[in-house]
Symmetry: C2
């Protein structure tokens, strides 16, 4: 017999986890649409050469690619940005600005570890077309509203502008990559001199000229672009203090061309739950022209974990079912079937125990295990008196109600 198992880095989501995930995803969709972002979905498989366009070598290592039955070199979606770029190229008549959200899994053959899976769900928003700071502000306003709506406390959006590095001529990708790994001073009490020593010790900061440049960058004041974004947020009545300028933020990847930002939730390891920025050269890459864009990607799996770390998911009920209609005996079966039909007709999420031969005790245990808050019992007395016995599984009480009273109570 085949021993059943999931692949490492891949997970099943059982109902009680799914209920939480669905609630979070619905909140994201709701807020995304509140800001005028619209849904897009793209295939799981793409031509590998399409996927490789953005990341090159790094991707080659992490992309799940293979020859399909037609000997085409295909690969699983690595992120949601390259597919967006391809969609823009294939649909040149899409009205600009194009504001889309996309919530789909991506796959990376990375080493699984805390907060890192081989299959994970991304929830991206991108605003394609304008290059104005207002576009950046709109995107940030949307993501801050998501975080607020989810009830997350103690979070920060680190923000920086890649043009700062250009301005000072610091371009060595190794320095930027290592710099990005160092948490900001208010997180680890490190000062700028210590950061520079650290990078020297790591042997990435070797030139005196680079050291001087980095010193200036780390000491620089908040750029005008970020001030402008904060102004827009305040005008929208959003809390701009959640934006924390940190000149050491680089976001590793070198396709960013302007503002960059990364979301951190207090209490959730040192992992960001999402990141993004402006990348004016990427989305138009298949068109061979510049198509300005600013985007942000929530990692749903990390978002769920971050919310768990703040105890925000524990009050989400493990089931959406309101009531279990039990079956007292095979003779009274139809009475229960009828009641279930009436409750569902009234919009009450109702489970009907689908076996007339099960003991009532077993049915109650089922409701208890599932966390269904109410149980309806239709025994001979209830049927005779045209009533329903309702057991409250939380309060451990029971009452006989008329159908009208029951519908009044839970309808």
């Amino acid at each position: 017999m085949v021993k059943p198992q999931t692949l490492r880095g891949f997970r099943d989501f059982l109902p009680e986890e799914m209920v939480i995930r669905e609630q979070i995803i619905n909140t994201l969709k709701e807020v995304y649409m509140l800001y005028g972002f619209e849904p897009l979905e793209t295939p799981a498989l793409e031509y590998t050469q399409t996927l490789l366009k953005k990341y090159g070598q790094e991707a080659e290592r992490l992309i799940y690619n293979f020859k399909d039955k037609g000997q085409r070199d295909v690969g699983l979606r690595y992120d949601l940005t390259v597919p967006l770029a391809r969609v823009m190229a294939l649909n040149p008549n899409l009205p600009l600005p194009f504001k889309r959200y996309q919530i789909q899994p991506v796959w990376r053959a990375d080493k699984p570890q805390a907060g890192r899976y081989r299959e994970f769900l991304q929830a991206d928003i991108d605003l394609v077309g304008p290059s104005s700071p207002l576009a950046d502000a709109e995107l940030i306003a949307c993501l801050l509203s998501v975080v607020e709506k989810l009830g997350i406390k103690n979070y920060r959006l680190l923000i920086n502008d890649r043009r700062l590095f250009e301005e000072y001529g610091l371009k060595d990708p190794e320095i930027l990559k290592e710099l990005d790994k160092i948490p900001p001073p208010y997180q680890n009490k490190i000062n700028n001199d210590q950061i520079i020593s650290l990078l020297k010790k790591k042997k990435v900061l070797t030139k005196k000229t680079d050291e001087k440049k980095l010193e200036k960058i780390l000491g620089s004041l908040e750029p005008k672009s970020i001030k402008e974004i904060k102004g827009f947020l305040e005008t929208m009545d959003l809390n701009s203090k959640k934006l924390k300028f940190w000149p050491g933020l680089t976001r590793g990847l070198d396709y960013y061309t302007g503002t960059i930002f990364e979301l951190f939730v207090k209490g959730y390891k040192n992992l960001s739950v999402g990141g993004g920025g402006r990348y004016d050269g990427l989305v138009g890459m298949f068109l061979g022209k510049k198509l300005p864009a600013v985007g942000f990607s929530f990692g749903i799996d990390r978002l769920v974990e971050a919310m768990e770390s703040q105890d925000l998911t524990k009050n989400i009920p493990t089931t959406k079912t309101r009531v279990l209609v039990t079956i007292f005996s095979p003779e009274l079966l139809k009475e229960s079937v009828r009641l279930a039909g009436i409750l569902r007709g009234a919009g009450v999420k109702t489970d009907l125990y689908p076996d007339a031969d099960a003991k009532l005790e077993k049915q109650l245990k089922y409701a208890d295990k599932k966390g269904i808050p109410l149980v309806a019992i239709l025994g001979p007395d209830e049927v005779k008196e045209k009533k329903v016995m309702i057991k409250d599984m939380v309060a451990k009480t029971q009452t006989q109600l008329s159908l009208e009273a029951l519908l009044e109570k839970i309808g």
Copy 2:
């Protein structure tokens, strides 16, 4: 430059298609939960040997399988039933009955044609545990409610019971397969004799004994199991006449053990938009024991197409955005930003044109193209008088409203 394209049999879903799909999917989820089914999700990739367990040779041809970076033989999800069986085996403590819904894409390297894609979305419900006809009725009640809720007119659920073939000892899979391809008499005016001639001509019905058996099957009356299901549906106040007994329905695959059913929508080709049945041997396959189950799978892509064929999607708005806030001039930018913030705070799905330098005409054209019904304009007069100019893009009218009146109107 890489020529961007999608793989054959794979599709992008642009916002106006996604809005329709999301609405349909939300209806499915809503009704599934109304009947006590709960969400489950499983990985896109499984060990190939897990996937091959159910279908054997046929699957080997259609499964997208490959060696991953760790040289594991893995494959893309071929359906949602095998993953369910694996979940049941990995989670022996899941309370039974287990009622789950699962809405995820599956992949098959099949030849693309009308209504058949290589990536398509399935929406399954399964009820695992009881083998009572009530379980079958619950499942059918749920799927009929979905169809009703979607507003589909003129549909039929063909129903049969595989035990009919066992009863008469007709087991040749080739006969059952060819028989399944023949539409029922009320669809193509064919009578039982003609069906038998057809199968003889196709050289699958060769033995006189099999012919006699088939004659009896085609002439048999509605089995008790189906009558019982209809009785339950009527008790739930559902229209049992939508169930159409057709003894020629076989559902090809031989893992079905009891009732089988298939959903047809009038006007949509000759393709079913979903099918299912009872299969008591399948879900427990990794456990090495019988675990009764009855399930149904909607093909979302076909469901969307079937609804389109009945003109049921044309009234779904192409965008969820209610209003576009335009920017009159760079000087008045902040006024518009503020208004967008207020509208969103009131829960109004609002797009803000993210470029202060665009001409008003261009912004109006954008709203028109997107199908956004209302446009807000804040010019110098409006700002002075603390009003908002609202253009109704459908009625082609415009009115100056106070903010209070505007929120009253669309809040």
